[in-house]
Point group: C2
Chain length 362, copies 2
């Protein structure tokens, strides 16, 4: 099936697109919306990386929203972060609501360099804009035989209740952790809550429900209906472990928010209203611990043990976190990224708006 | 009810005991079993701290087993760790199977000092003996306005399956994280699996079951029966999130084991058979990030938001992790630690064995 979207001169059709072409296009759109180079390219790369690895809620789907924020001035289009503190292995930056992808890539570079020197390095960023897909960043670290961690929270948003409570305190509070092995890297990217705002919004828009009761209404009754988040009074997303053992997800949320809001020194107590994030990134360099070889020997063995674990009859083999993402990325690098009707339309609209040639299907 | 346990000269009875007296007694027992000072006192303090904060599976209950290991030479009684590497903010130690409590206290001290200088500091320990209750260590760090983290795994043990698998790969893989606020500290201490070997063993011994299906038999059928762990072929403990969203606990287990086994450079691939642990400790100094005051302002506000979250009718208020432990500790410091029949008997046996006066009830 081919759906053509009418443009001024050209059309963008449903089909498969090379990631390079999508990056070029997204960078041009961001430039059209006022973002200065080379931030344009870095943001475009991180968004398209999200699509490459199959996290399509956190890929190019975000581009129209980023463009709106640039035009409204709520995403800062130029200049650099301000250094709040810079002490040996760690630093704190004020991101001035620059694009989170740009800030996070810079912070990982800085933390990586510090890790090479000190063993570990960390950067906390206050007032970053949204940072998209956390897993998209970590191959930049694992490919250097380093271990990377990213934790972030948006202090302007609360949809997740503490265990036992009814009122939202936390965002889903993602934490990503990537490490090299003797083969492919392992990249974990999970939220402290069972599910996310993005998934809830997507299902609610389609009138669908979650397969299990991952939320509660405002009285504390567990439900699979994502619409409770927009009711008044609102329901909340349950922490990982749910009604049964949600003290674990609650603990993880407190870890993520103390690292991100606490170390960055900017959070809920400051009452921010705009879309943003406080971010904590840390890089560990195994070479300064027991050596990169010793690290890969241990983690490679762990990965092999997981893969060798028997599964119930007819079940899929055990996968390592990041394995499916890497498989998807390799396939999509080879065969292109398939865009659905919604994304074709939104990219077509952006092409018209900025007078750009739309990306060409393979 | 008073149960007297017959000793050579004196008796120890069920009742309440001052923590100081229990520490003195445990240190004397450890000295009797050959452990050199001042390791005796540090180990005794950490064990009794476990009882003070209510983690009684990881308190003095461990003393008889530690004594056995000292006598058999599988817990090293004297000397220091060997430094494998020492590079700026990080170090790796070979613990030579010295008591884990001693090594972990030393490692936290070293990491704390490095954090004061570099912002973060970390020590990975290979070939530690058992480290008991992780939460017991962290007040030593939070009281300095620092943030502490401990992760550990016993590479000789596997009882937890990867998500979707049937064969055990991991230990319960505890991770503890403590941070100061503007009031009491928050101390999170959780395993990557839903429950622990200790809880399963305790319930199995009593012929009891878990309240929910936190394990699976060797075919992958979820069960609340802890006895499946000792069946042949054995069942396994489920990762946090269980059959529904256990990829989260699986991810957390991989984080804990890559930090502990990977950075320490000693793990499952080395095939250790004796009781022990690889340990990763990290300390963060908020003063070198945004300042201790800014950190406490953010985390104090988070704690207040959690406490203020409404609860269902008739439910307990929302608690912060570590809050109940601190309440228990304050009560037990004031009114003593109550010892049950089993512990009275085991402490009485140790008093006889080492010719010591047993601790005196209040």
């Amino acid at each position: 099936m081919t759906i053509a979207v009418k443009l001024a001169e050209e059309t963008i059709t449903m089909g498969r697109y090379r990631s390079d072409g999508l990056i070029d296009f997204a960078a041009a759109v961001l430039a059209g919306a006022g973002l200065e180079a080379p931030k344009t390219r870095t943001v475009a790369e991180i968004l398209v990386e999200g699509d490459l690895i199959g996290h399509d809620t956190h890929g190019l789907q975000l581009l129209p929203a980023y463009v709106r924020q640039l035009r409204e001035g709520t995403m800062t289009a130029s200049g650099e972060h301000e250094v709040v503190s810079d002490r040996a292995a760690v630093a704190v930056w004020d991101g001035r609501y620059l694009p989170g992808a740009w800030l996070t890539v810079q912070a990982l570079e800085a933390a990586s360099g510090r890790a090479t020197r000190y063993g570990v390095g960390a950067v906390a960023i206050r007032r970053s804009h949204h940072i998209a897909c956390l897993a998209a960043y970590l191959p930049r670290i694992t490919s250097r035989n380093q271990v990377g961690m990213i934790a972030c929270a948006d202090p302007a948003v609360a949809t997740v209740a503490p265990f036992g409570g009814l009122d939202a305190v936390f965002t889903p509070d993602p934490i990503a952790f990537g490490f090299p092995t003797d083969g492919d890297p392992v990249v974990i990217d999970m939220s402290a809550s069972i599910t996310t705002n993005g998934m809830a919004g997507r299902l609610a828009a389609r009138g669908e429900r979650f397969r299990e009761k991952w939320l509660q209404d405002s009285d504390g009754t567990a439900t699979n209906d994502p619409k409770v988040l927009s009711q008044e009074p609102p329901g909340t997303i349950l922490p990982t472990g749910g009604k049964d053992h949600g003290h674990k997800g609650y603990g993880l949320a407190l870890i993520v928010e103390s690292l991100s809001l606490g170390l960055a020194g900017f959070g809920r107590v400051d009452g921010p209203r705009q879309w943003g994030a406080s971010v904590y990134v840390q890089v560990f360099d195994p070479e300064l611990f027991s050596g990169a070889g010793a690290f890969g020997r241990q983690t490679g063995h762990l990965a092999a043990l997981c893969r060798q674990s028997r599964v119930p009859d007819g079940a899929q083999p055990v996968r390592l976190p990041g394995e499916q993402a890497l498989k998807t990325k390799r396939l999509r690098l080879r065969e292109g990224i398939e865009l659905d009707e919604d994304r074709v339309k939104s990219l077509g609209d952006l092409a018209v708006e900025y007078g750009l040639a739309p990306p060409t299907a393979i």
